[in-house]
């Protein structure tokens, strides 16, 4: 997949408080809208480093993308205060996103917390390219943090919700429903994004027996492969080494990752 890198000032055309301390911004940007699901925007905030945020929606025809984030610190706080009409300074789309699903195989989207939005963009982008719609499993700590459930349903998808505290859906993590679904589907493709412990559990579950693409998070400097800050230990062509989430990732195959 060719990486098209750009640097733009992208106007905010919509701003939504989507959940308790979660905000989605829609940006007008034909450049960013060339993104592949799983790629990210590196957004300028007042801190010393830009903030990486995945695309929650990619509308190529309208030249619009969404970013959906949780307010966790100074940068996301600042982002949450931006208003329609202001512009964001964004490097992107960056990184290697998810590969398109093989139409001949069943696929499942497994998202946790702020890992859900990039999976929505994957669903939206590829739903029309596969005969079987993906199954969606999304989890969060509590029901207030379940993101984009209605959006998935708007695509006509079946959505299984899990919460740690049982305040909505299945009580527990996404792993239970995933295990059940995998037991019923052969030759499946798993697309997952979420907190590291969740991704580890997915990798443990599939044990290299099922194709699983995991989108990782790591603290980043440059975001474009120059500083080697964002690494994870992973097996590449040249064996085990620290590989860059910003360029070799954020999406890795589960069996590449050494945990």
């Amino acid at each position: 997949m060719a990486i098209e890198n750009n640097w733009s000032k992208s106007p905010i055309i919509e701003r939504t408080d989507v959940a308790d301390s979660h905000v989605e911004l829609i940006l007008k940007s034909p450049e960013l809208a060339k993104a592949t699901p799983g790629q990210f925007a590196h957004v300028l905030t007042p801190g010393m480093l830009r903030r990486p945020i995945s695309f929650s929606r990619i509308d190529r025809s309208q030249g619009e993308v969404g970013i959906l984030f949780q307010i966790v610190g100074s940068g996301t706080q600042w982002l949450a205060q931006r208003q329609v009409g202001e512009s964001l300074d964004v490097l992107g789309p960056l990184g290697h996103g998810f590969p398109a699903p093989d139409p001949s195989r069943p696929w499942v989207l497994v998202g946790g917390g702020v890992g859900i939005p990039p999976l929505y963009s994957a669903a939206e982008t590829w739903i029309s390219t596969t005969p079987n719609p993906p199954f969606v499993i999304i989890g969060a700590r509590k029901s207030a943090w379940i993101l984009m459930e209605e959006d998935f349903k708007g695509l006509g998808l079946a959505v299984e919700v899990t919460t740690d505290d049982g305040s909505a859906g299945y009580q527990g993590t996404v792993i239970g429903p995933l295990e059940q679904w995998l037991s019923r589907h052969e030759n499946a493709q798993v697309y997952a994004c979420g907190p590291t412990p969740m991704l580890k559990a997915v990798a443990n579950l599939v044990q290299g027996q099922v194709t699983a693409y995991l989108a990782l998070e790591q603290r980043m400097g440059c975001g474009i492969g120059a500083c080697l800050a964002c690494v994870v230990p992973a097996r590449g062509e040249k064996g085990l080494s620290y590989r860059r989430v910003c360029t070799e990732g954020p999406v890795f195959r589960a069996e590449e990752l050494m945990w």
């Binding site: 801190g47 010393m48 480093l49 440059c222 975001g223 474009i224 500083c227």
Partner: protein, 318 residues
């Protein structure tokens, strides 16, 4: 205004602004955001004779106006650099400064030897902040004798212009700088990062995988200027200044403190084209401060050179 900088052994920069080692990869990474041909030079990520793995993540952490990193000098080794990265650099204008690293004097020598005489390599920058694994792990840059030994060893095997990079983490940077000069270095680059640490209070542990890290960015600018100002009075070789530069007026501070050229690192992560901007603004900033050439500004705030009668003026701020 002519921004050229003439440095020892024929090293000539089109302008005094270079990319600092480790913040600009090997050149191609940023080339889609930066007009790299406009840069005076590029100091590439540190290269060692064999590949280095680097430190466990997390490797980077934000601090107030600063950045902590513990990359641990991960690099693919000098052979991969020559095969894979040098061809790209060779096609571009900036002078290529290869930042070299080693765990022993011998390793430094090997990588320097390997690079000597190669087309497209214009200078070596000896990063002496690496731990000396034969001498208990304290860095080469923290002891004048060891700094001398590394510099001298590298000098033996190359005719390239050599700059040796000062560590700020010492009681007396001047003593190290003098040892480096005595050992035959052509230039001094200063400063490398300041050792620091952050705590990840949510996880009750040091924030970085490498525990401590190197502090860079505007926070360390005063430390860099102090060291450059002191070293400039103690050695006779040119100084390449860096540490927290974010603007053309920052560059002017470094020049006045005694630097002949500068490198720019951390700010590039926020603003990839900041070096281009600085180069564009520099002539006008120099002029506005009464300079008719770049060279005039170098050391302008040093004792003797300063146009202000220091003794008279300082007690009575105007």
């Amino acid at each position: 205004m002519d921004l050229r900088v003439i440095l020892p052994r024929g090293l000539e920069l089109a302008n005094p602004v270079m990319a600092a080692s480790g913040t600009f990869g090997f050149g191609p990474e940023y080339s889609q955001f930066v007009n790299i041909d406009a840069l005076g030079g590029i100091s590439v990520k540190g290269v060692s004779p064999e590949p280095w793995t680097g430190n466990p993540p997390p490797r980077i952490w934000e601090t107030p106006m600063g950045l902590l990193n513990s990359i641990g000098l991960q690099n693919p080794g000098v052979d991969v650099f020559i095969e894979k990265d040098l061809p790209f650099l060779r096609q571009h204008q900036p002078r290529v400064i290869v930042n070299i690293i080693g765990h022993t004097v011998d390793e430094y020598q090997r990588v320097a030897e390997r690079l000597d005489g190669l087309d497209g390599v214009h200078a070596l920058e000896v990063n002496i902040s690496c731990p000396n694994i034969k001498e208990g792990g304290m860095s080469f840059g923290q002891d004048p004798d060891q700094a001398y030994a590394v510099t001298h060893a590298v000098r033996q095997v190359t005719n390239l212009p050599i700059m040796v990079k000062l560590s700020p983490n010492v009681t007396s940077p001047v003593l190290i700088a003098q040892a480096i000069e005595a050992a035959g270095a052509d230039m001094i680059s200063a400063i490398n990062t300041v050792v620091g640490l952050a705590i990840d209070i949510d996880h009750r542990r040091p924030a970085l995988g490498g525990i401590t890290g190197g502090l860079s960015g505007p926070a360390i600018k005063p430390v860099a200027l102090r060291i450059i100002y002191e070293v400039a009075q103690a050695v006779h070789i040119p100084i390449i200044g860096m540490g927290g530069i974010a603007s053309a007026t920052d560059v002017l501070e470094f020049l006045m403190a005694g630097a002949s050229a500068v490198m720019v690192g951390t700010i590039t992560f926020q603003y990839p084209d900041r070096m281009n901007q600085i180069i564009n603004e520099l002539p006008q900033v120099l002029q506005a401060h009464g300079f008719t050439s770049l060279q005039e500004a170098v050391g302008a705030a040093l004792p003797g050179k300063s146009t202000w009668p220091l003794k008279e003026e300082i007690p009575y701020e105007s």
